[in-house]
Amino acid sequence: MKIVVCVKFVPDIQADRRLGQDGRVVRDGGDGTLNELDENAVEAALALAEAAGDSEVVALTVGPAGAEDAVRRALQMGADRGVQVLDDALAGSDVFGTVTALAAAVRRIAADGPVDLVLTGMAALDGLTSLLPAALAAELDLPQLTLAAEVAVEDGAVRIRRELDGASETLAAPLPALVSVTDQANAPRYPNFKGIMAARKKPIQVLALADVGVDPAAVGAAGARTRIVGSSPRPPREDRVLITDDGTAGTRLAQYLAERKLV
């Protein structure tokens, strides 16, 4: 089985995150990581590959210089090889630009042997849009099985279970298919020393837009369907109160809520 797992390089959510004058995420470098939720996608890819045997897991990213760190992490976990789509024209891409580049890269990877499964995380913890997986499935014309809390492949078909706000669902589709997994799907393995050493020898292929046949005008700021017109940090919360319970804190809390007409 050939599995492509999409991984994104994001600013560390524990770090101070901010936006620049242009409204884009400031990437000072140094404090970026593999999007935590993509570790679940990599884990799912590795587990499915191990179960199927004779499989290949390709970690794919679309991102600027430095983003290969996310791919490297996937390789350390056990993915076989990496692909990065890297091109100055990608700067400022919205979800559809990123999808165009990812889809072209998946097709390119499929050129030397069909791809059975495309896996993604449930959301990138920088933008938290969760738009990409469904858009990528549409672009690649693959069955869309998203937000999997459980995923299994058997007899050429994939099955998932997903938990929505109001319902629990199971879905099935023949391969090839696109699956996004949640953090409930598994517990990502931690790369061990052997994995880290092995990853040094694994190849990361860097592709420009021309290599995957994408028109630069269709992606990046040029192709984006949205444009940031302003951004500002939220003003700090004012008049904050911190009390230690002396036996009356519950009453004081109720009074605080009543004063603010919140009860």
Binding site: L19, G166, R225, V263
Partner: protein, 335 residues
Amino acid sequence: MTHPADGPVVVLLDHHTVDGAPRLRPPVLELLTLARGLARHTGAPVHAVALEPGLAAAAADEVGRYGVTVVHDVTVGDADRHLTPVAAEALAAVASRAGASAVLATSTFENKEAAARLGVLTGAGVVSDATGVTREDGEVVVSKTVFAGTWTTRCAITTPLAVVLVKANAVPAEPVDAPTEPRTEGHAVTVSAGARRATLTGRTERAATGRPELAEAQAVVAGGRGTNGDFSAVEELADVLGAAVGATRVATDEGWIGHEAQIGQTGVTISPQLYIGAGISGAVHHRGGMQASGTIVAVNSDPESPIFEIADFGVVGDLFDVLPQAAAEIRRLRG
């Protein structure tokens, strides 16, 4: 079909089932209010789309009170309307037929999936998790918060059709002075093979809890590891406040409460007027789902807990003392 700036603003009607009948979810009324504001700039009408059988008829009076002039009642043949790719094609068909300028929906996971595919199908720009939407210099401009509610951004959608997913509690719902009598337009949409490649093999709707839905509640009381599995104090305070009950992932992983109660980056994102967190440390993953709340109250026995960094009102104390006392005082104040 083109999408002129004065084309209808189309609102997707989300529903839940009450006593066997489809009913609108409260955030839809907020959406209709926002849609009217957006439509006013170009003199466009506000339309609604119903994908659930019986919903168009059941909701006609209510959407009329919010100024809707046309309800599109869509059927999808033998395709499954619960599949989000099917919903996307239904929306694409209505948007095209009506020459819509914008499609508005609530920012749920299902609607995000439908909107993403709608974007691929129509070329529309899509913004999710919006807290506001207006028209400026002809363009649809959307505001949203990012980075766990610590930044606000505004972005313009530059395509003729704009798709905007709005968070609950973005604006108060306001009916119109003179209700309309919406006309119903039926659409039988033929769904493509591409949207039906995955099959829904099972679907179990969750039974209603009797409390407000977490994602749309005006007030939320949440419990974490500090409850040690006993949610009674959290539930008692929630019930006097008419609030929804939420939890951290620790509490849902422990099985103390259902996974649907999880607030955070991988659970439900909430922005109620009031959030009360009890026995919750305030991990970044949890904060990402609640930091945009109006007033934040924290009750935690450890003064070093990071939740106090973002609390408007923090109580260092034992939740099993503080919450019941607060509930009792609220009852007393109400008389």
